[in-house]
């Protein structure tokens, strides 16, 4: 670069410095997609804490950046997101989010009425049905599994599994998972009303017993042991979830609980969201697969909702203490939105009926259930 370069070549170099010539039509289409995501996140409040970072990451992915995502070579450092994304590639961020989720979750309603675990299990059928559909329309089994898990309505679990089985689909799967979680109040009610009678929706459930600290602590430990013994590949997710919950319920580690609920989860969320978004390049996102995944995601949510409700109705056949089938839909997780939907639909039928706490049982059971399914897929595909 010493003096011998001519004026012309310098100007050329200057033009080459800019990256306007590197803009592709895919990028420009993606800008429109990103604008829609921003609109949904900011003005419609679709899970803004994750969709904003994802969409901003996608914006960076669809600009001709330098030094942001490049691999390190020789003495040169890699780009910023080469390093931050390692948190996803090494599967560190989702378990850390689960640590915070555990510190924020009260399993009391589930412990008081453990039957509702079956509702959380039933809702996982949506995952498998979607897996079948995705296989049928041409996705590989691994990809189909990662797509199916969208029906589990757990963002971190979806990202965890997609990174492991189908990293090339990470972005559309994450976007679908978080978008549909935000859409739960619109997606679920039609299914719920179609599958229940007026009388069923009016069922009042008896109030939940109190659960002591010791029982909650035993629950944390017991779930850890049972799940890991039966599905050891779910260890990272369930282990961190229950560590967070144990700290929370111990009542003697407040400093750590607050750190897990706030500092850790917030910082990791920024990194996780942008890392997911930055995989959302035009080439990876603008293709038929993405549309298929988005369609399959809706199907997954619908089937999961239906299965939860049908399981509740099935259980009522065998049980004296009737379950209001509206809480079955909460088994998809999407905590606590799905439980609120149950509450709202219940009050629509009977304004004096309070289903919220009853719905929290299947709701948090769905989190455990989806983590189990993820572990099962990982084990099946031999990862």
């Amino acid at each position: 670069m010493e003096g011998t370069t001519t004026e012309t070549s310098k100007l050329e170099q200057l033009w080459n410095m800019t990256a306007i010539s590197d803009v592709t039509w895919q990028m420009m289409v993606m800008w429109a997609v990103i604008a829609v995501l921003f609109y949904l996140a900011v003005y419609r409040k679709f899970e803004p804490l994750l969709l904003i970072p994802i969409a901003f990451g996608a914006l960076l992915a669809n600009l001709p950046t330098q030094g942001l995502v490049n691999l390190p070579h020789g003495d040169h450092a890699g780009g910023l997101y080469y390093y931050i994304s390692l948190g996803i590639e090494y599967e560190i961020f989702p378990p850390l989010i689960f640590l915070g989720v555990g510190a924020l979750t009260d399993f009391g309603p589930l412990i008081a009425n453990p039957r509702t675990l079956l509702l959380g299990a039933a809702a996982q059928f949506g995952v498998f049905a979607t897996f079948l559909g995705a296989s049928a329309i041409g996705f590989s089994p691994e990809q189909a599994a990662a797509i199916g898990i969208i029906g589990g309505a757990d963002g971190p679990t979806s990202i965890f599994l997609a990174n492991k089985l189908a990293p090339e689909l990470l972005a559309p799967i994450a976007v679908a998972a978080y978008s549909y979680m935000a859409l739960v109040p619109m997606l679920q009610p039609p299914v719920m009303r179609a599958l229940t009678t007026e009388a069923e929706r009016k069922i009042r459930m008896k109030s939940l017993r109190e659960v002591s600290r010791l029982e909650k602590l035993i629950f944390s430990g017991m779930v850890t042991i049972v799940v890991i013994l039966l599905v050891p590949a779910a260890a990272a997710l369930i282990g961190m979830l229950m560590l967070g919950n144990f700290l929370r319920e111990s009542l003697v580690a407040d400093r750590l609980v607050k750190a897990a609920q706030n500092e850790l989860i917030n910082v990791v969320t920024i990194f996780l969201g942008t890392s997911v978004g930055i995989t959302m390049t035009g080439e990876a996102f603008l293709n038929a697969s993405t549309l298929k995944i988005l369609s399959l995601g809706v199907v997954a949510f619908g089937i999961a909702t239906a299965c939860g409700i049908l399981m509740a109705k099935l259980m009522n056949v065998f049980s004296k203490n009737k379950i209001n089938p509206l809480i079955g839909s909460a088994g998809v997780s999407a905590v606590p939105m799905a439980a609120r939907v149950s509450q709202v639909e219940g009050q629509r039928a009977d304004p004096g009926n309070f289903l919220l706490m009853h719905a929290m049982g299947p709701n948090v059971a769905g989190v455990i259930g989806t983590a189990v399914v993820a572990g099962y897929f990982i084990a099946w595909f031999g990862n």
Binding site: I111, P114, L118, F128, L230, V231, D254, R255, Y376
Partner: protein, 133 residues
């Protein structure tokens, strides 16, 4: 396709098995706790015929709540309602650093307003003690 059905069949079975196992264990543990609670409360039920001595209510007493609500209404007008009166959930642990904080936080001061904690003797302490270079 057969492969997939097999995957689904076993998979759903696994999920049901795992969550049913948790249900079973949970119900078992719960039964023990419920029985323990019942035993603990039964003698109390017998004693309940004797009029219980008025207890110190845990929580903010209702008349305090009313007083607080009235004060707030006085100040901010009728449009405001008190929806929550809460104690901080902080629980001091025995961890060394937590103790250090408790013991020594008085050293970090804002020199122009007031003491960060009162002295044992009760007099207003010289908050600039040791900070005036």
């Amino acid at each position: 396709m057969f492969e997939n059905l097999e995957l689904i069949g076993t998979g759903f079975a696994v999920v049901m098995t795992v969550l049913a196992s948790i249900w079973g264990t949970c119900a078992l543990v719960g039964a023990i706790f419920i029985r323990a609670t019942r035993k603990a409360t039964e003698p109390v039920a017998e004693l309940a015929k004797v009029p219980p001595k008025p207890q110190v209510a845990s929580g903010v007493p209702p008349h305090h709540m009313a007083a607080i609500a009235a004060a707030v209404e006085e100040f901010l007008g009728a449009g405001y309602r008190v929806t929550r009166v809460a104690a901080p959930s902080h629980q001091v642990s025995e961890w060394p650093t937590e103790g250090r904080k408790e013991t020594f936080s008085s050293r970090r001061i804002r020199t122009d307003w007031g003491p960060t904690r009162p002295t044992l003797g009760g007099e207003t302490p010289n908050i600039l003690r040791g900070q005036q270079k």
